[in-house]
């Protein structure tokens, strides 16, 4: 079998995933921390000040990576939700449940840092333009997913019900992304492009990309941490938990 496919299937096994998560947590967390320190130093200190906004633009190094993560995590959550609904893979349900609080947190950070950035630059903490409104809707979609999943007594049914909700809400992600093109918004348009030239200067772009990478690695760290915890909680009766983790021999 294709090694990548095999690795993917192996990850679906709870004891294998547990060992995988235990192994990779320190690395993802450690590298995320190092990259964050580099990115923060570069972004908050070494990068040049903006000609219009001065030093207040530096919050971009937290705001934009958080915004990217809030959308990326939702998409990953929705993909895992779809896998959980179609194939009923238990680990997909656990990854789905683990993604939700992390994504909600990044969305909240995006909104709060955006508000703090808006006050000195736009003169207002909040405007009901398309980008801000759809990001706030994203926060409530996350709340709905978390609330619905926790309302069920059976965690597997709860995860699948929340997965249906997450898939219904995934339509919000392109709305958020294209909101600055489709509507006249106060929030600025796209400056960083995946393909082609970005309109942001490289001296400001590099710390942004470093912080974005740090955010992704932090997300992986947090995901593995939560997934490990959920796995132990829901598999606690299983033999592998008792023998490998708790060291109880029988």
């Amino acid at each position: 079998m294709n090694p990548i496919l095999r690795w993917f299937h192996q990850l679906g096994s709870p004891p294998y995933f547990y060992a995988f998560a235990t192994r990779w947590m320190p690395w993802t967390g450690g590298i995320a921390l190092v990259l964050a320190m580099i990115g923060m130093y570069w972004g908050l200190y070494a990068a040049p000040a903006d000609y219009l906004q001065g030093d207040s633009f530096r919050i971009i190094y937290i705001h934009v990576p958080s915004a990217w993560m809030s959308m990326l995590i939702y998409v990953l959550m929705a993909i895992n939700g779809a896998i959980a609904l179609i194939w009923r893979i238990k680990l997909s349900e656990i990854v789905f449940l683990s993604c939700a609080p992390i994504g909600a947190m990044f969305t909240a950070i995006t909104l709060v840092t955006g508000m703090l950035w808006g006050k000195p630059t736009w003169g207002t903490y909040w405007e009901w333009d398309a980008r801000l409104t759809s990001e706030l809707a994203l926060l409530f979609l996350y709340f709905g997913v978390i609330g619905l999943a926790s309302a069920y007594d059976d965690v597997r049914q709860g995860a699948r019900a929340a997965a249906v909700l997450a898939l219904v809400g995934v339509v919000n992600i392109p709305i958020i992304h294209f909101s600055v093109q489709w509507w006249n918004t106060l929030h600025q348009g796209d400056t960083v492009r995946l393909i082609g030239k970005s309109s942001i200067h490289p001296s400001m772009l590099w710390p942004l990309l470093i912080m974005a990478t740090a955010a992704k690695l932090y997300f992986l760290f947090a995901l593995l941490l939560r997934a490990r915890g959920l796995l132990l909680e829901h598999e606690r009766g299983k033999h592998w938990v008792r023998s490998q983790v708790l060291g109880v021999s029988d």
Partner: protein, 227 residues
Amino acid sequence: MSSFRPYIGLLRRDVRLAVRRRADLLMPLAFAVLVVLLFSVALGGSANKLAPVAAPVIWVTVLLSSFLSLEGMFRPDADDGTLDQWLCGSTSMIGLMFAKAAAHWLLYGVGLTLATPLLAMLLKLPADQLPVLLLALAIGTLGATQIGLIAAALTARLRRSGILLAIIVMPLFLPLLIFGSGAVDAVRLGDSPRSALMLLAAQTLMLLTLAPLAAAAGLKIGSDSPP
């Protein structure tokens, strides 16, 4: 047409049951008038304060009132085992969801839309906005019923789902509200409401086709049958 009989049967059953429990049928209307009352009192009651916000307040009122009817959409069926019969049976779940949504819209969506002239009078809505408001509400409540169908299906077997229903439904109502209210706003500005109404209708069409699917999937989750 004989193959439609189970679905028409469900539609007729729901309508008949609701009409017999007239209190449940009229509660969303009473709630709508109460909300309008609260807004009118808070705004001071004068026409120059009420008229600019009349249409948006009516939209919000209609959407909030639709919550009241959502909890009872599947709860009785879940409690007495009808849901399990549907899941075991050979009738199409999607068709049953469609019938359920149709009944709900006829009872509550159309009802609230018909009550709108009363609400418009209370809120001193400018007369030229009323026709577009009615059209937008008729289309929008059809879409809102579908969204409510999904949320009710996902929470059908939960014990107390009131505020959770609201949290699930509100972000999904936003696109309907933006264009529904936007259509009336266009009339206020003297523009054509056509583009807003088209986008509203597009959303409702998409919901009409996809929501019964999601609702059927949601109902299957609570049971122990494979999807």
